[in-house]
């Protein structure tokens, strides 16, 4: 990485037909060209079968089973006594105070994490789009948090938030921001925000990289024209840059919302949902009901509610992404 270009040596796919191959195509007689186009009539069945089979086995069947489980009072340690309760689990959820707490915190979680990841990523992308001599290096380094496993993220931030020996308390004390060390992850009023910061840290590189890729497609002439028209840097940002990359931003926001809404492992590692219910979010609550309390039926119902709530966002995202499929 000494040249500061990161993985720049490896470029995208370069389908480069050799001279001989091109020659063959060029020397075709018109009669040869009238062969049926590739693929018509032939069956793709065997090509698709393994992927479809495995995916059906590990995704579709489980989803169907979740739906079925959600209608039962299914306890993992007592599966023989599972009872069909219809919508009983859902009725119970509506009256479940922890569900409403988790839902509210999920909302804070999604808006806070996605919003700040986006803002920080946008700033980073705008800066990394300027030219300076170590830009390539900076682009490679900024992206690193994104590569790390959630368990490591949980570990490093738990250590930094440590009450006695944490570097965050140390720095805050040295700067005079706090008078005494704070148990960030043990206090109900700070725990959720402390974890959110860890996740913002992990996810802002995604926005930075995505937006940067978008920025590089904005034609330079637009800025030149704006400059001639006397636009200030600020006006250029709001009237040239942002409108040009609005599409990229929208796609990234949708995708990120889905992931952040579903993510629970960093919370699980850092606090396990506590203290009390202070860091419960909806997916975490569903997971805890299933894995700790072994109430698979109730957990499945919670997971279905989460999925239903996200369906709208998924629909908007998939509609955008699927535009790229050639007919």
């Amino acid at each position: 990485m000494a040249d500061g270009t990161g993985g720049g040596r490896i470029s995208g796919p370069r389908p480069s037909p050799s001279f001989r191959q091109v020659g063959i195509v060029a020397s075709l007689t018109p009669a040869d060209r009238r062969r049926p186009p590739l693929g018509r009539g032939a069956t793709p069945f065997w090509f698709l079968l393994p992927a479809v089979l495995i995916t059906a086995g590990v995704v579709l069947v489980p989803v169907a089973q979740t739906a079925w489980l959600s209608l039962q009072d299914y306890l993992l340690y007592d599966p023989d006594n599972a009872r069909f309760v219809g919508l009983g689990n859902f009725a119970k959820i509506i009256r479940d105070e922890v569900f409403w707490i988790s839902l509210g915190q999920s909302f804070i979680w999604i808006v806070g994490v996605v919003g700040l990841q986006f803002l920080l990523g946008l700033v980073a992308a705008l800066l990394l789009n300027q030219s300076f001599w170590w830009r390539g290096l900076a682009r490679s380094l900024v992206i690193i948090p994104w590569a790390l496993p959630s368990v490591i993220i949980g570990l490093m931030w738990t250590w930094m938030y440590d009450f006695n020996l944490g570097v965050i308390n140390d720095i805050a004390l040295r700067l005079g921001l706090i008078a005494a060390p704070i148990a960030w992850l043990a206090r109900p009023d700070t725990a959720l925000y402390a974890i959110m910061l860890a996740l913002i840290w992990q996810g802002f590189p995604f926005f930075a990289v995505t937006i940067l890729a978008g920025l590089q497609t904005v034609p330079a002439e637009l800025y030149e024209a704006a400059e001639i028209d006397g636009a200030t840097a600020r006006q250029q940002l709001f009237y040239v840059t942002l409108p040009s990359i609005a599409d990229v931003i929208a796609t990234a926001l949708l995708l990120r919302t889905i992931w952040v809404a579903n993510s629970l492992d960093v919370i699980l590692v850092m606090t396990g949902g506590g203290p009390g219910y202070a860091t419960h979010t909806l997916p975490l609550y569903a997971f805890l009901r299933a894995s700790s309390s072994m109430e698979f039926g109730y957990g499945a119902a919670l997971a279905l509610i989460l999925t239903a709530m996200l369906l709208g966002v998924v629909f908007l995202y998939v509609r955008r992404a699927a535009r790229g499929i050639e007919a």
Partner: protein, 278 residues
């Protein structure tokens, strides 16, 4: 933008903020590595000294000698390679079909693979556990690998389809006219060209599988415990031994950091188009 800023001004407006962002991005990682190199006495000193006075590899020695961490590293390696091989093995033919055939339900199927990647993990993990238990696949390599294929296959199909699409169909036709069968065309013409994409997809599956925690935790036990699960158990077990924990974290993080830097440029293109999961 036209270059007319003075150097000092650019330093202040661009390079300094970039430096702060880079420090923010790398700070926690660097802190983990520094912690893993400090001897125990320095770790419990307050106020903190940031740079280790006498760097030591003692924690790494302890980790390998006193815990089962080394065998967990081996398990994670097997599972991540297994997930890549299985994912690529079924996704290459599928992506070829999506790129080269036009058939009824093609768009629906391709969209379906995208939607699958958006499903919450909690939705799948509960019944997958029950299914693996019924099949006797709990705590086996195959069980965890199958669990990881829930995200590996949809991702690889989307990524590889776009790579296949980038190869002109003229090449297929030329080969067919030269008398090559479809399989020969794939083996001799298409696959060599699509190899960079296959490598990227494979490495990315490796990274995601290596990093994955929830499936591995639910589907593995003692026998095939992965590094992420092992480390999380250590956090409970050796709460105050941060030297040991951060040494484990560093050993897990370094290989994926390296692999990620290797493929990051080529991932960027597929980001918004496809199903790159973080």
């Amino acid at each position: 933008m036209i270059e007319r800023r003075s150097y000092a001004r650019r330093m202040l407006e661009v390079e300094l903020p970039v430096l702060l962002i880079v420090l923010f991005a790398l700070g926690p990682y660097a802190w983990m590595i520094l912690t893993s190199l400090k001897p125990q006495v320095e770790l419990s000193a307050w106020p903190l000294n940031y740079w280790p006075r006498e760097a030591t590899l003692q924690h790494y020695n302890d980790l390998i000698a006193r815990t089962s961490f080394a065998s967990s590293l081996g398990n994670s390696l097997i599972i991540a390679i297994g997930a890549s091989v299985l994912g690529l093995g079924v996704s290459i033919p599928a992506a070829y079909a999506f790129s080269r055939f036009r058939f009824r339900g093609r768009q629906m199927l391709l969209t379906g693979f995208l939607v699958i990647n958006m499903f919450p993990v909690v939705l799948l993990i509960i019944p997958l556990f029950l299914m693996m238990r019924r099949l006797g696949l709990i705590d086996t390599f195959l069980g965890v690998i199958l669990g990881h294929s829930t995200f590996a296959i949809p991702f690889a199909i989307w990524m590889l389809t776009s790579y296949f699409n980038a190869i002109p169909k003229d090449l297929d036709e030329a080969a067919t006219i030269d008398g090559a069968s479809r399989l020969q065309t794939i083996r001799l013409i298409i696959l060599p060209l699509v190899m960079p994409g296959v490598a990227t997809a494979g490495i990315y599956i490796f990274i995601t599988s290596w990093n994955e925690y929830l499936f591995a935790m639910m589907l593995s036990g003692q026998a095939v415990r992965t590094v992420t699960v092992a480390l999380q158990l250590f956090i409970g077990e050796f709460t105050i031994q941060w030297g040991l924990l951060t040494a484990g974290g560093t050993l897990i993080a370094l290989p994926v950091t390296f692999l990620f830097l290797l493929v990051q440029r080529r991932l960027v293109g597929g980001l918004t188009a496809g199903a790159v999961k973080s």
